[in-house]
Every structure is written in C-alpha cells, then in structure tokens.
C-alpha cells in the first residue's frame, strides 16, 4: 500500500510495510529502538509534525501520528528535519546518509548504536520510500 505523506494512512502503511517486508525483517533482526520524529514546518507544512515508531527485531510494534513527545519521553533516537528535507529523503531525492552527514536530518541518541546499524537505517528508509505515493 502507498499513501500520501504526511498522513496517518502513510504511517500505518509504513508500519504494515515494515512488518511484511522480509528483507527489512532480516536486516533489522537485531534492532531494538523506538524513533520519535519532529518535522519542522516549511513549504506546505504549516505546523510542526510529529510521529513515533516502535521498532523491535525487524518488526514495527507500534506507530502514532501526531504523537505527543511527553508520552514518549525517552525514545532511543530523536530525529529532527525540516519538511522539505524529509520529503526529499522520502522521494529518493536526498540520500539518507547525506541527510545525516550534512545535518539536514539531526539525530539524537546513541551514535554508536546508529553507526553499528547503518544497514538497518538504510533499509528502513527504503521501506519508507516504497510506501510514499506522493507528498503534500
């Protein structure tokens, strides 16, 4: 299933994709960590957007659109990006590692865990690319 980003349907589609994708399941089999995203307004996004993903051993245990950061006070990783940058990543126009190396995607959390699991991160982005039909 593909959906328009940003929308609850898109996040639900991503969750389903992560749980159904064999390649992701294999690559991410050791991943243990939830992600909290802050997307800063820019272009067609007028207000800050948040969403949350609970990723565990190659599956997605939970996802919440417009998540309240107070509900998830200690995610393993917090990611911040401007709307145009995150949509460029989702459309495959901006390499995710490039987004990270140039700090267009700011990452807070254990860098050791992140650097150890770059293949998982890249495959997560592949799944996100594949469920993104279009951008608002």
């Amino acid at each position: 299933m593909t959906a328009v980003f940003p929308s609850p349907e898109w996040l639900e589609g991503l969750k389903d994709k992560l749980n159904a994708d064999e390649r992701y399941r294999e690559i991410a089999k050791n991943w243990e960590g939830d992600l909290f995203f802050f997307i800063e307004p820019e272009g067609n996004l007028k207000e800050q957007l948040t969403f949350y993903l609970d990723l565990w051993h190659g599956t997605c245990r939970g996802a919440e659109f417009s998540a309240d950061p107070l509900k998830y006070p200690k995610p393993v990783f917090t990611l911040r990006a401007r709307y145009n940058d995150i949509t460029a990543v989702l459309l495959g126009k901006l390499n995710p590692m490039s987004a990270m190396m140039t700090s267009k995607l700011k990452v807070s959390g254990s860098m050791g865990y992140m650097m150890r699991n770059v293949p998982t991160v890249l495959d997560f982005v592949r799944c996100a690319n594949e469920v993104t039909k279009e951008i608002v």
């Binding site: 390499n95 995710p96 590692m97 490039s98 987004a99 990270m100 190396m101 140039t102 700090s103 995607l105 700011k106 990452v107 254990s110 860098m111 050791g112 865990y113 992140m114 650097m115 150890r116 770059v118 293949p119």
Partner: protein, 605 residues
C-alpha cells in the same frame, strides 16, 4: 603574517624571514605557503637526509585563533619514503604556541654536530644538549624535556627511536600522542640530530579584524557542536566509522585481500566507547574532541586508537582484540612510527610469508601467522630498533617488497602506503590516492566522506554513486582543492564548516575580500604548485597509479566484484585539471591562469 624563524643547525645562524605579501595572499599559509617557500630548494638531486634538506614547521592564518578546529600545524619537506613533496599535519597545541612565541613557522636546515633539542622561548632560540635523550621513546622524551625546561605552558614536539634510526615512516609527536605520522619526516628530523623542539610564548596571536572574527568563530563553533558528524566523532572517535566502512567494503581486510571482516564490531569505535573508553581529548580550541582516552586491564589511562590505527592492527592483520590494537598503537607512538605504514608493511610481510616468499629464515625465526598479536608486537620492536627483519621492514612496503622481488604486491602509491579506505568500496579514493601530491594519502582528499553523503553543493561537490567512475573526476578535483584550503589554514578535515563561513573566517583573519571561488582557486593553485614540485622531482603521469591489489575485484563484502576504472577516471581528471596528458604536468596555460607565472616558466622553459 609573523616572520618565519629560519635556523641553520650546522652554523647556528638564525634569521627572521618575512614572507612576501603576494605569497601570503596567493597561498594563505600552512602546507600551501610551505610549498611556495620550499619550491626552489626541493631539487631532484637533494637527498632528504642531507644537511641542506629543509624541514619546515608551518602554521596557518587561523592557527591558535580558537576558530573551528584551528589548533593544528603542518611539517613539510622532502619525503625519504617517496622522494616527493612531503606534508604531514598534526594537532595538539604546539602550533598555536609557536605563534604565541612570535613566529608563524620554523624553517630548519643544516645538521647539528651532536644530538640537540631546540628551545624557542618568546622569540629567542637556544640549542640544548640532547645526548641523554637519545634512545628515549617519544612519551619519555616529552616528559624529560618539559621537566628540564620547566616553563609552565610550554609545548614540545619530538621524535622517538624510529626517527633517530631513520625508519622511513618515522613520525613527529607532540602533546603526548598527537602526531605528524605520514611520509617519514621524523626520520628527516632525526637526520638533523634534532630530538625535540620546545616552544613557549605569551604574545597574542594576530588576527586582522578580531572584532569581526570573534562572533564568526563563536557561530562556527556553535554550529559545529551541533553537527551529526561531530557528535559521532566526539562520542565514538574516528573509529566510529568502522562498522559502516566494513559494510561498504571500504575497510581493508587481510591486507586488502578479503572483502568482509565479520568481527569488525569487536574493534570498532562503538565497542571502544562501550568497553574501555575513560575520556576524550581535544586539540587546542577544538569543540569536537575526537581523541580517545582508554583504560586497559592494568588500570592505566592511555591514548586510544583512531580509525586508521584500529584497521592497521585490526582487520588488516585479522586481529579482533581491541586491547591489543591499543597497545600496538601505543608501541608505534612510543617508537615514533606511522601506524598506517607500519601496519601496511607488516600486512605485506604476512602476505609474503603465507605465500612462501618469506620463510622463517627471513623473519628471525618468527612464524607470521595472521592475527598473532605477539608476533606483530615483536616485529614493531624490531622495526623501531632496526634489528633483523625490522631493518628491512623499516624501509616501507615498496622497498620491502622489492627486496623480496615482490614490489608489485605492496599496496602503496609512489612509496607511501595506502591508507585504510579501499577504493573498491569508495571509488573516488582511486583518484585521491593516484593523484595525491604525497603518495597514497587520504588527508589530501578524504573523498570517502563525499561517498557517504558529506557533500558541499555550494562548492560544486555533489553526491555520486560510491562505485562510479569518470563522472566523479571533477568532483574529486574540487574536493582536493577544498581540502587544500583546509591544509593551508591548518584546519582539521573533521570540521564540517559551511564554505560560506569558511570564507568569512579567512577574510576577517587575513584582511581579504575573497569569494567562495577565490578560496577554491587558492586551493587549486597550491594543488598545482605541489604537482609542479613533484614534476620537477621526476613525477610523471606514469606515477598516477594504483597498486595491483586494488585493481582486482574481491569476491565478497560491500565492494564485491567492483574495481575502479582508473584509466578513464584519470583521463577525465586530467581534462578537468588542465594537465598535459603526456608529461603529467600542469599545462603552461593552467599555471598562468592560476597566477603561477614563475612556476610556468620553470616547468615549461
């Protein structure tokens, strides 16, 4: 600029040398200005160990100004390993201290008639006896000189036994474990009978417009502190890249013959942080602090390894014992030897032993079994002391290979051992290594960062497929120019500074009114100048090559099946550079366009 202190070790004569203003504006400082200063003296007949061979310690216009990672300096001359231009960059505090002492550089010639160390204090130079320091390791020597001089805040750079005995990859160390590792300038310092150079000063470091510079440096440092890459380097050190490098096939394994190293995590920056890390260390004014302080079983705190050392004594030799990597790195530091070249040369020895080219009769009875840490340690001692097989290993991989009729198996370019970034995993490094002015160096263009996505669109440095070919030649050339600016400023390549900010820092520090393109042209100018020096020393297009091992595909790992198309990449690169495809020299037109009229006249009489 402040003057350069010229000192002739043979005569004891000193001179304050004022740099022509035009050269300041053309070359800024650091390695670029050093290349201009040394151009005339680096002749084909010059022996790097001859008394007349120069050894130039240079700072840059930002050195010691508390800008982003500006605590560094560079040492330049003629490399005994390559016979080519040599520059070796080093962090710590020594460079800023030299500027505080009133000099922007120290230019040594001649040879002392006995072991000495130099003491430069507030604009005065003194020669002191160093006979009692001979044979002492670099850490001991630093402590002894500091105790002997006894001036608070002084800094000292030293050589170890490897430099005294002219190991061809001997290094120069300062501030405990910071070092100018590559190209063997420690051996040149040793050839001059100089064991150490101590400096101290209290002068303010000159900045053209300090009022304008201060808020800029604050902003640059603030931004740098928030940078992802800086976070990784601070948290994990440069070895934090190990897992990703292995995944890409960038990390050499078993002397560049294997594509994967499943045990990489045991010798990664992540593992170091989670197991033995006891603290971090930083060069002067640096907000990143990539230096590692680790604690091993004996409870003592010591320097932890960076990426290159981790691979040199890890994956390269099939060792996955992190504590052993720490100890082997320390051993090299204490002898004063470059870990990249030492690990690489050992890798060749292990390869030749496995292939039966070397036998126990060649190795002083040692079995060179991959991953045998005790053997590696014994060999490092032998190199540092130039004993037995160590006397041959001390010559580096090219000469060691040639001795056993296996030069083609040495993974080196023009006599400098290839650093631990395999171009089969990140193909831009093929051009970086083949065209670097100092041999197979990763610091003239750490292009693998671009392959990872660290791009600079404002400079025309964009993202290409990591296993691409000729289409990235212009990108590599631009990146080399960009890094040449860093090496002129003596800024660390780990500083992810926005190019527009970089120009502002230069303009306010130097009183210039440069654009981005002016800055890049300064990089290109110095790149071509260093090329011209090497051309005069005999370098031709035939030298722009990669070793055989890197042109054979690996069956597994992140680079599986790929080799860079170097001939096509070089053709494109020559076109971009404006270099003559026959001679390998920059064309007269290109040199003139860069304002290098006298160099053009010399190269194209």
């Amino acid at each position: 600029m402040q003057p350069i202190l010229k000192f002739n070790l043979s005569t004891g004569n000193s001179e304050e040398y004022r740099i022509p203003e035009t050269w300041e504006k053309q070359f800024l400082g650091g390695a670029s200005l050093a290349a201009r200063l040394l151009y005339d003296s680096l002749t084909p007949s010059l022996d790097p160990f001859a008394p007349e061979a120069p050894l130039l310690f240079m700072t840059g216009p930002l050195t010691g100004t508390s800008g982003p990672t500006t605590g560094r300096f560079v040492i330049c001359g003629l490399s005994p390993a390559t016979g080519l231009w040599s520059e070796s960059h080093i962090g710590g505090f020594w460079g800023p201290e030299l500027r505080s002492a009133g000099y922007d550089g120290l230019w040594l010639t001649g040879k002392a008639d006995r072991p000495v160390y130099l003491w430069i204090n507030e604009g005065k130079i003194e020669v002191r006896e160093a006979g009692h320091l001979m044979g002492k390791d670099t850490y001991e020597t630093q402590d002894l000189v500091k105790a002997e001089v006894g001036v608070k805040g002084m800094r000292v750079c030293v050589i170890g036994p490897a430099g005294e005995k002219q190991v061809l990859y001997a290094s120069i160390l300062s501030d405990h474990g910071r070092l100018a590792g590559r190209t063997g300038l420690g051996a040149v310092m040793g050839s001059k009978n100089v064991k150490a150079v101590a400096v101290h000063g209290t002068n303010k470091i000159p900045v053209f417009d300090l009022t304008a510079y201060m808020p800029l440096r604050s902003e640059a440092n603030r931004t740098l502190k928030q940078d992802n890459e800086a976070h990784i380097l601070h948290e994990l050190g440069s070895a934090g890249a190990a897992n990703y490098a292995e995944y890409l096939g960038q990390m050499p394994v078993k002397y560049y013959s294997q594509g994967a190293f499943p045990e990489v995590d045991k010798v990664s920056g992540s593992m170091m942080t989670e197991s033995i890390l006891a603290g971090t260390s930083a060069c002067q004014g640096c907000v990143i602090a990539c230096g590692r302080v680790v604690k091993l079983e004996d409870g003592n705190k010591r320097k932890g390894p960076e990426y290159e050392t981790t691979v040199a004594f890890g994956a390269n030799l099939l060792n996955s014992d992190l504590s052993a990597v720490v100890r082997l790195g320390e051993l090299c530091d204490r002898y004063g030897m470059d870990t990249i070249s030492a690990g690489n040369t050992l890798g060749l020895a292990f390869t030749l032993f496995e292939q039966g080219v070397l036998t126990r009769s060649d190795t002083d009875g040692l079995d060179l079994a991959w991953g045998d840490v005790a053997v590696i340690e014994q060999l490092l001692h032998k190199i540092g002391r130039r004993e037995g097989i160590g006397d041959l290993l001390a010559l580096g991989s090219r000469r060691f290979g040639a001795h056993f009729k296996s030069e083609e198996k040495a993974v080196q370019v023009n006599g400098l051992e290839v650093a631990y970034h395999d171009p089969r995993g990140v193909s831009g490094m093929a051009l970086s290594y083949a065209t670097s002015p100092r041999g197979a160096c990763h610091n003239q263009s750490d292009y693998f960062f671009v392959e990872w996505g660290h791009i600079f669109p404002d400079l025309g440095i964009d993202f290409y497929e990591r296993q691409g070919g000729a289409e990235k030649a212009a990108n590599v050339a631009r990146h080399q120019d960009w890094r040449t600016v860093f090496n002129a400023l003596t800024m660390c390549i780990f500083a992810n500074v926005d190019p527009a900010m970089q120009v502002k820092l230069i303009n306010t520090a130097c009183g210039l009114d440069w654009s981005l393109e002016d800055m890049m042209q300064a990089g290109e100018r110095a790149w071509n100048l260093k090329r011209a020096i090497n051309n005069r020393l005999g370098l031709t297009r035939a030298n722009d090559k990669l070793p055989k091992a890197l042109l054979e595909p690996l069956p597994d790992g992140g680079s599986a099946g790929f080799i860079p198309d170097l001939p096509a990449m070089l053709d494109a690169y020559y076109t971009v550079r404006g270099w003559d495809p026959e001679s390998g020299r920059p064309t007269k037109e290109r040199l003139l366009a860069l304002g290098l009229d006298d160099i053009a006249a010399d190269l194209w009489p």
